[in-house]
Symmetry: C2
Subunit: 144 residues, 2 copies
Amino acid sequence: MTKDGWMMRPYASALDRLRSVGLRPTRQRLALAKLLFEAGHRHVTAEDLHKEAREADVGVSLATIYNTLHQFTEAGLLREVVVDSGRCYFDTNNSEHHHFFFQDGGRLIDIPAHGIRVENLPEPPGGTEVSRVEVIVRVAPTRK
Amino acid sequence: MTKDGWMMRPYASALDRLRSVGLRPTRQRLALAKLLFEAGHRHVTAEDLHKEAREADVGVSLATIYNTLHQFTEAGLLREVVVDSGRCYFDTNNSEHHHFFFQDGGRLIDIPAHGIRVENLPEPPGGTEVSRVEVIVRVAPTRK
DNA sequence: GGCTATTCTAGAACAGTTCTAAACTATTGA
DNA sequence: TCAATAGTTTAGAACTGTTCTAGAATAGCC
């Protein structure tokens, strides 16, 4: 009942990813990177990831989940998406894009950048510069 | 040092507003409506409003602030704006528009709807309909 | 191996929000 | 006018998601 079921270099790309941003590849960070990045683009909350880690028999404390998510975000591996006060989503897709957000259920879906065109943006207020333009399309079940 | 400094019908429009959405005009709701709507467009958090109420010598509990903000939102008098996980803003401008958000300090500024054009929006996922399109332009102090 | 800086952890602390049950108040209608 | 009653307010407890803390564990280096 241990870590030996895993193949020889299961963390290869996770390892590279960590190295590339200068984060020491610890057991926990490797496991989380693997969960986060080896399954296509994802939107996870800290709790989601914690649960997944537990299910994958990876011992990681919640505090470490938070630390890691923030370190990854700071390093540019993740992007924080705010759509819901009181819950924080992290997006493994760090290329330019936007989101559909399901009001109920709280699910997020990517909209590729070319799927939306924002035009005619006014100048940012004096002394500031734009750090990101975020479009959130809130959707709800069709009522009829 | 009391409520007698106020002119004869200080709540006239607040009253109308409450009546128009079918909310019983209580002392607290009238006072909050006055604070919210008689000073141009505003973005407030529950705490902000609570503080203002205290400063205006209006006795209102925090629970009532929350109740009222939600009732007003439900009634369409306010709009909830999510830009920051763990803090909730309410916007007294319920016409179509978007926002600049100052990352530091957490200040919000309206961008009139005609100041931004969102085009080329993809269809919402099956079974859902768009309930709102929100554009948040995050800005930070120019660093040089 | 041993040393040191970094990382991890459990649990406490914290912030913002919601809940609860009891007290209060506006409205109705006799 | 005065109850009756349905809606509202309140203090404080509870809850949720997140951050902090201080000690234990670990990675990287000699």
